[in-house]
């Protein structure tokens, strides 16, 4: 996901959608913040007007809202939905913040992904309309008139057949891609499929391991979430069984797949339900 789950992601670069509910009136990012700080009880906040306000602001200020801001909007809506659904679950009243966060992040990821998917699928239809419209206007391709000579010096001067062969080897052997500065973009450094493969290589033969142990060394939240999704995926594939002693308790993960990690690694890793 492009948006991080850090609180910094809640800062909007465009106009924040204003939401009006019986218990809260103000920008949506403030609402998320207050909910997170338990200043506003999410149970008291009806979500429909929040989502409506969210969509409305986006519609009213399309020109000033950046793509990044839009994905942040999506994320915040998802966060609110998730916090609320978590809060509505019966469970121990005293859940510490850490665990509560751990609880909603995975499903937050799922919800925001679902919302996004639906949007992209609708966009795909719009692309068809755009391209059909564009195809009605055909570009000229005739190029330069006859009689215009390109006064180029012989560009092949000094190029020997061997140099050409070298160039071919270079072109086909090492496909060097331009590096772009991605510091402004949040990129999953670890993908779910890679993690599935890594887990499929490391879990077999290992005794039952807890999710906490599995992720203890990880520093960023996204990596933990990716690991969670990878475990879910392996679970779905029947490679691991996951047990949870109590709600919000630690997950116990046990490898039950075949003992051929390579075979497991070949399993398509990204086929969990979208």
């Amino acid at each position: 996901m492009s948006a991080t789950l850090d609180s910094s992601a809640h800062a909007l670069s465009g106009p924040a959608p204003h939401v009006v509910t019986p218990v809260f009136e103000g920008p949506i990012d403030l609402l998320v913040h207050l909910v997170n700080c338990h200043e506003v009880d999410i149970v008291e906040v009806p979500l429909a007007p929040v989502v409506e306000g969210f969509v409305e602001v986006l519609r009213e200020h399309p020109e000033t809202v950046t793509l990044e801001a839009r994905s942040q909007f999506l994320l915040m809506a998802a966060i609110l939905l998730e916090i609320k659904s978590q809060r509505l679950l019966p469970g121990p009243d005293a859940v510490d913040d850490e665990e509560e966060l751990g609880g909603w992040e995975e499903r937050d990821l799922l919800i925001s992904r679902l919302l996004e998917c639906r949007a992209y699928s609708a966009v795909a239809d719009a692309f068809v309309v755009l391209s059909e419209r564009a195809a009605r206007s055909v570009a000229r391709e005739a190029g330069l008139d006859d009689g215009f000579v390109v006064h180029a010096p012989d560009l092949l001067e000094g190029v020997s057949p061997d140099r050409l062969a070298q160039a071919y080897r270079r072109a086909t052997a090492e496909r060097s891609l331009p590096r772009v500065d991605l510091s402004h973009v949040t990129v999953d450094t670890v993908t779910v499929s890679e993690t599935v493969r890594a887990l499929a290589a490391s879990l077999p033969g290992r005794a039952r391991v807890s999710f906490r142990q599995l992720t203890a060394h990880l520093v960023n939240r996204m990596e933990v979430i990716v690991h969670f999704l990878a475990v879910l995926e392996l679970c779905k594939l029947g490679k691991v069984v996951v047990a949870q002693a109590e709600r919000f308790g630690d997950l116990e993960i046990e490898w039950v797949g075949e003992e051929h990690p390579l075979a497991a690694a070949l399993v398509g890793a990204d086929e969990y339900e979208g």
Partner: protein, 199 residues
């Protein structure tokens, strides 16, 4: 250069170009400020419209080029006998949408979003020239990151990515969001219905 000469020179250069000519390149060739060139292009485009020409001066993928007027498509198609068989599948279009709005994006990210392996579709889009590798992500595996190309913009008739329709126009409504929330609630939480998601 006076306005008329500027317009004539623009007409000549754009006529022989095979891809959109940026105002910057025109400015360089004609030794005039880019702003002036751009204004002249816009005036030309408007005048073709006023004169009801059979062609338009379109702004596409960051530059200007001559195109046929859309309402003459029937004649042009008959003439050019153009192949319309290369329509993209729904899967390819959705993947293209993801790349367009999330670029730069890796195949794994696309797969994670679409819920299915995206390798074949990504390769197809790359072969068609709609997307291209634009770099590699830092970190383990260094996955290739994809972005859309100028050809993508040209095929959609867009000047730049900023002209993509706003994705929020395509967001599911509040009802769908509420539905999602509902569907993702575990059955164990049935006791907590009537939560007032509506009203």
């Amino acid at each position: 250069m006076n306005d008329e000469d500027l317009a004539r020179a623009i007409e000549a250069v754009v006529l022989v170009a095979v891809e959109p000519v940026s105002p910057g390149l025109l400015a360089e060739l004609l030794e005039e400020p880019a702003e002036r060139v751009e204004a002249a292009c816009e005036r030309l485009a408007a005048s073709y419209g006023d004169e009801r020409r059979g062609f338009v001066l379109a702004r596409v993928a960051g530059g200007y080029r001559y195109q046929t007027h859309p309402d003459l498509a029937a004649y042009v198609e008959r003439f050019a006998n153009r192949d319309v068989s290369h329509r993209l599948s729904t899967a390819a279009l959705e993947t293209l949408a993801i790349v367009a709005y999330r670029q730069p994006v890796s195949r794994a990210q696309i797969a994670a979003l679409r819920g299915v392996n995206a390798d074949g579709v990504v390769r197809l889009l790359e072969q068609r020239g709609y997307i291209a590798a634009v770099g590699r992500a830092a970190g383990p595996g260094q996955p290739v990151l994809y972005g859309t190309t100028d050809l993508f913009l040209e095929r959609l008739g867009l000047d730049s990515l900023s002209q993509l329709p706003p994705v929020e126009d395509f967001l599911p409504g509040a009802d769908v969001a509420a539905e999602l929330e509902e569907s993702l609630r575990p059955p164990a939480g049935a006791g907590a219905s009537g939560d007032g998601t509506g009203d």
